[in-house]
Amino acid sequence: MFELSPQDWTAVQLSLRVAAVSTLVALPLGITIATLLARKSFWGKSIIDAAVHLPLVLPPVATGYLLLISFGRKAPIGAFLADHFGIVFSFRWTGAALACGVMAFPLMVRAIRLSVESIDRRLEDAAATLGANRMWTFVTVTLPLALPGIIAGMMLAFARALGEFGATITFVSNIPGETQTISAAIYTLLQVPGGDTAALKLVAVSIIISFAALVASEWLSRRATARLHGA
């Protein structure tokens, strides 16, 4: 029952790679933006806040189209990146990762921002009296205390990336072996007669992956929280 076709395997592996890469690449930016939003007040803060949340409320197809007209091979940003850095997004798995990262970003930022906001800032004052400048205070106090939220944010982003469909298929299409993730593969299988069984197998695989990710993050998060409260 559980034999996947080579093409389905490729889709599973690609999905995992896309989700992992998009989560890891988005993380530093996510932590930075979340901390800025949680801590600083500056001109245009509400605009940045809204922009970060836009992919959450915009139809995914619209997000995908926006990516296409800005990061496509002939689009302004896409052409610049391709000519100067050799980074190409259109119709590549990197483009799928970009689409997933953008779609997952609001969830990641929200989770991290909440945990940064809940940190007792008096602990940061204590670090300062002990000789830590802002950067060291951030690295040795703020980040470790925000860890449960960072783990939760990564988990949400990973899960969102794994399930992403609309933006990805609009931006980088549905090319087996290059941009065909699990979601796209299931969709493709359902378009052909007799594809149900294969589709169901992929559904089962995605359930297993999601479940494992949930359990792992719950465990990590609990461990991190326990460390903060003694034990």
């Binding site: 008096r122 004052d125 204590a126 300062a128 002990l130 830590a132 060291w136 460390r227 003694g230």
Partner: protein, 243 residues
């Protein structure tokens, strides 16, 4: 006001610590000037007198509207000259009312934090001396969440001491403890005063505590220095309260 305070400055030329600060906090105004010759100075007064605000300004956690703070001849703050040494460069140890130990670090790493941040080589002799002085050797591997209130405050004192401060600020370190725990920790504070050779500013509203710990007293009332002197000042203050 500010001028008045500055006129006193020459007399304090040799003082270890000179504090002249003005700060408006909503309706409440702080305008305090005093000097300390070292030893243990109590900042004494009823709650709401602005004691914590004053030591926050000494530590650099709060910025005065106007003022001047000099420690060991180094100007830490002089608003007129736009001098304001940041908190992390002042090397002033601070024991907070609630300890503020880092919950994600063990007691040992909390104690070691200041040395580690400064990039100094580990000094086991100094470390053990402080651990012994405060009797916290059996707590080293625990996390702050597993400590009693008294233990937490002793670790907080040790953490501030081990950063090798030029001045130690203690903000009502016993306020959060019950009477038994208070009696338990007072002897440690006396040992600290006698053995650590660090000048101390001890904030308290409790005359009995101040009598045991301090050698001189700065009395703060409504954000202003009402009197300065030896601990005999406390008798007068108590007489005032009875009258």
């Amino acid at each position: 006001m500010a001028l008045e305070a500055r006129n006193c400055a020459p007399a304090w030329g040799i003082a270890m610590l000179v504090v002249q600060v003005e700060k408006q906090l909503g309706e409440f105004a702080i305008n305090a000037s005093f000097a300390s010759e070292g030893g243990t100075t109590a900042l004494f007064g009823p709650s709401g007198a602005g004691k914590t605000s004053v030591i926050n300004m000494i530590a650099g956690l709060m910025k005065p509207d106007r003022g001047r703070i000099v420690l060991d001849g180094e100007v830490l703050l002089e608003t007129a000259a736009y001098i304001d040494v940041p908190v992390f460069r002042r090397r002033i140890g601070y024991v907070f009312q609630e300890g503020r130990l880092f919950p994600h670090l063990t007691v040992k790493h909390n104690l070691d934090y200041g040395r580690w941040i400064a990039g100094h080589v580990a000094n086991p002799a100094a470390f053990n001396h402080v651990v012994e002085l405060l009797n916290i050797g059996h707590l080293l591997d625990r996390r702050p969440g597993k400590l009693s209130g008294g233990e937490r405050q002793r670790v907080a004192v040790g953490r501030a001491l081990l950063m090798r401060p030029r001045l130690l600020l203690l903000d009502e370190p016993l306020a959060s403890l019950d009477a038994t725990r208070k009696r338990g920790i007072l002897p440690y504070l006396e040992r600290l005063r006698d053995e650590a050779r660090v000048p101390i500013i001890y904030v308290s509203h409790n005359a009995a505590e101040v009598r045991r710990i301090a050698s001189s007293v700065v009395q703060l009332v409504d954000g202003r220095v009402a009197a300065t002197g030896g601990i005999d000042l406390l008798d007068a203050a108590q007489a005032d309260m009875l009258a």
